[in-house]
Structures are given as C-alpha cells and as structure tokens.
Symmetry: C2
C-alpha cells in the first residue's frame, strides 16, 4: 500500500487553500472579507489562492452588487467538497499510521 | 479562537516534508533510498526537501561508509518530532471543526 502522504494533493493540501476550503465547509458560503480576516491573509494572497482553487474547479466565485459596492461571495463546488474529503481521509490515514490521532486538549 | 489552519507551518505541512517526517516517525530512522522509494520522489526532490528540514533543525543527516559506498541515514530531531505533533494537532482540530474526523474504510 502506498504511503498516505502520496495521496495529498497540493491544490487542496497547501495551508492557505486548505484553510479556505475548511472555512467554506463550516460556513457553506463566505464573502471575501470574512475569509481574509478568518485566515489572516492579505487581499493579494487570498486572491491568488482563490484563483488556484477556481481554476481547479474547487470553488465558485460570485460577485453581487450591494448598493454602490460589490461583494464577492465564495462557495465550494461539489468537486471542492470531494477534494476536501479526500484530503481529510489521507491525513487521517497518515495520523493512524504514525501512531494514532492525537487527542484534543480537554478530551479524556 | 484563531482558525486551526493558521497553526499549520509550511515547513512541516508541505506534502513531501510531512511525508518525510511521517516515515521517520514510523521508522525512527531511514536511509535516503528508503525514503525516496516510499514517497516516490526523485533524488533531487528528496534532497531539496531534506535540506529545508535540516536547515530548520527538524532532521539530522548522517553519512555512513559501507564498504565502498556511502549510505545516508536520516532521523527526526526532538524539534522535528514536536513539529510533527503540532501539525497533527492542528489538523485534528481542523477536522473536528469541519464536522468530525472521517472514518477509515472498514471502520464501523
């Protein structure tokens, strides 16, 4: 059996992009400013990573006019949710392999 | 509370380097060829990522003479083991946050 690390895909595994997909899983959709603040990113850095995810078909971007301003909404596509699931499975397997999933603080 | 994705450190989180640290956790020490084959890397790619980990003090590299050949052994340092633990904790928290740790195939 191949090592689970081989099943990690950089498109999803990369730290910032994993954060984006995780927030979109929690929130189902989020606007640009929320993602930027939640993940402590600059506008440029977030834009760059969104472009990678959009190019790969993992997120959808929608611009909505609100009065004079434009608001950018993001949500994960079906492929994006599947890619996040695959990443979580590979990480879980990796954890199991190196001696178990660590407990969280406060767990008994 | 900050998002667990913010606690992921690229030095350890990057796919290949995470694979290296995971194999060294399983094996306690491994030689260059074993790592290269287990993670399906080229010599150049493995060397580059080992250099990053060594520079960060996370792995130790030792060259041993075996007859006419040199064999390169690697093991994680104490800091390397701690960094892998921190990565696993952050990933576990991220998983919990987005709806639980996925079960492995065959688990009930």
């Amino acid at each position: 059996m191949t090592h689970p690390a081989l099943r990690l895909d950089d498109t999803v595994h990369q730290r910032v992009r994993l954060g984006i997909l995780a927030v979109l899983r929690e929130a189902s959709r989020a606007d640009f400013a929320y993602l930027r603040d939640a993940l402590e990113l600059t506008d440029g850095n977030l834009s760059r990573h969104i472009a990678v995810l959009e190019e790969a078909g993992l997120v959808e971007v929608e611009k909505a006019f609100e009065g004079k301003r434009t608001r950018t909404w993001l949500q994960a596509t079906k492929a994006g949710r599947a890619a996040l699931d695959a990443e979580m499975k590979a990480m879980r397997e990796l954890m199991e392999r190196i001696g178990g999933v660590p407990r969280l603080a406060g767990e008994t």
